[in-house]
């Protein structure tokens, strides 16, 4: 080593990304059953994921729910409850004793994931953990993003090398991949529905803009392995070939 002192730590402002579970029912067994269905549809997506739960709707209707039972059910499904939103005083106190932080619940960044079915859950909706979110400059990545690696950019994300299957790239702004995209790419993760995704060779496992996503099975052959741009139009992902 060159003898210079290496710092022990640094505190950085950053955002954290987690699905929000918005509850419309207080029957924990029903919630568990629905969740299990969701998870079986996209196991990798949810496995060991952090999750927030939002009790605003329940409390509006005066429906009671036991936070401890809810939290242990979530843990049983390999989800990690990391925050509560819209809870009443008692619920917030109960959450504190379970080491679950209270989120003040500005949910303006959240976007529903599904458009057709009933909105009983919002996976992939962004969550602000630290409040001073700002749109940073573009992040440039010149090295390949390999399987198992994750990249998060506060602003736009520009990648010159390939993104492997099993890798995950996320940006609050646009994503540009000037190479092959085989992994998962999520643009506008703080809810920016104007964000776009560009890549020169679309072979992605998953693409998402502001929480609305398509998996590789949803991709039409016409756009596979093609240079494309992806954007949102009326809550739907549009993929068009670039020429």
């Amino acid at each position: 080593m060159d003898g210079s002192q290496s710092p022990v730590l640094e505190l950085k402002s950053s955002t954290f990304f987690a699905p929000v579970l918005v509850l419309y029912s207080n029957e924990v067994h029903l919630i568990a059953e629905k969740l299990r269905q969701k998870i079986s549809g996209a196991p990798d997506f949810f496995n060991n994921s952090a999750i927030l739960f939002d009790l605003t709707e329940l409390n509006n209707k005066g429906m009671q729910i036991d936070i401890e039972i809810l939290a242990s059910m979530l843990r049983g499904l390999h989800l990690f409850p990391i925050g509560i939103r819209g809870g009443n005083d008692a619920q917030q106190k109960q959450a504190w004793t379970l080491s679950i932080p209270v989120d003040s619940g500005r949910s303006n960044g959240s976007v529903l994931l599904e458009t057709q079915s009933k909105p009983d859950i919002q996976p992939e909706a962004p969550v602000e953990i630290i409040k001073e979110v700002f749109r940073a400059q573009a992040t440039l990545v010149t090295q390949p993003v390999r399987s198992g690696q994750r990249i998060y950019a506060n602003g736009d994300l520009v990648i010159l090398a390939q993104v492997s299957a099993g890798a995950e790239i996320m940006a609050e702004g646009n994503i540009h991949v000037y190479n092959t995209l085989r992994g998962r790419a999520l643009a506008g993760v703080q809810g920016d529905t104007a964000a776009r995704l560009f890549c020169l060779d679309l072979q992605a496992e998953l693409i998402s803009i502001a929480g609305i996503y398509k998996t590789s099975e949803d991709l039409k052959d016409a756009v596979k392995k093609k240079p494309v741009q992806v954007f949102l139009q009326e809550q739907a992902l549009i993929i068009v070939q670039l020429d």
Binding site: M1, S6, S147, Q149, G166
Partner: protein, 269 residues
């Protein structure tokens, strides 16, 4: 200063130990003082391939624990006096190695050796992490099949983000692809991925292709690194790899099946 070369893959049984033995011998034969370390604690394999298993008294773990010094544990190769083997322990478990201990041993070896070849265990867990952490160069051993390619890709991500060079923001580890157990006839029949397929997914500098060859098993049974079998295809392929690693230009061989080669030669299709 020595150059630390890790031979790694993620997947098991792809040819890491075969490669470590061959490369270490190849470098030593060319006059570079080389040490090869077995990081596969609990399995102990390298000493069998090097044919020195009966001379193992002390091992890597003994040195790390201060129960023996390096000179007591290093075994000089019977075929080449520039080559030394640091065997793994068969009786300890994987946790016997510490990052700090490995660093100490590598630093001490660096004073005397030109190249230190680290034979990594399979997986992406602790053993493989320890083997790659201090590396300057990485030979990523890959077989032409999907699971092996995927594991190599994962290992490349770990090299790029978890190694000492990554943590200290130094120049990154130099990564090389070594495609082993390549069987052109099975590539032709579609059973195996082709070189192009693998390159498309990994896009990595190709150091060489080692053909699937009976000579590998014969050599390992005899306890002699296959690179010393100069008549064999695998031995020649490894000799090419060592030459390329040292900066020589050599065309790639053993890519096409004999049938494919003849077809090309006679202009058929």
């Amino acid at each position: 200063m020595a150059r630390v070369v890790v031979v790694t893959s993620g997947k098991g049984g792809v040819g890491k130990t075969t490669t470590s033995a061959a490369i270490a011998m190849g470098l030593a034969k060319r006059g570079h003082k080389t040490a090869v370390i077995d990081f596969d604690v609990g399995l102990r394999n390298l000493d069998l391939i090097m044919g020195c298993e009966r001379r193992v008294v002390y091992d890597f773990v003994n040195v790390i624990n201060g129960e023996a010094n390096l000179n007591q544990a290093l075994i000089r190769d019977k075929n080449c006096n520039q080559l030394y083997i640091l065997p793994a322990s068969q009786t300890r478990d994987k946790d016997a190695l510490s990052l700090e201990g490995v660093g100490r041993v590598l630093e001490e070896l660096s004073k005397e050796f030109k190249y230190i070849v680290c034979d990594s265990p399979a997986g992406i867990e602790r053993g493989a992490y320890l083997a790659m952490y201090y590396a300057d160069d990485a030979l990523v051993v890959t077989n032409p099949e999907v699971s092996s390619v995927r594991d190599s890709d994962r290992m490349l991500g770990i090299l790029a983000s978890k190694s000492r060079r990554a943590e200290l923001a130094m120049d990154p580890i130099k990564e090389y692809l070594l495609l082993t157990r390549y069987d052109p006839s099975r590539v032709d029949s579609g059973e195996m991925l082709s070189l192009e397929d693998v390159q498309e997914i990994l896009s990595l500098h190709l150091l060489g292709i080692i053909p699937e060859s009976k000579s590998v098993l014969t050599a390992s049974n005899a306890g002699v690194p296959v690179i010393l079998d100069e008549k064999s295809d695998a031995g020649q392929a490894y000799a090419d790899v060592v030459a390329r690693y040292l900066g020589e230009k050599r065309p790639h061989r053993f890519i096409e099946s004999k049938k494919g080669f003849l077809r090309k030669l006679f202009g058929g299709k």
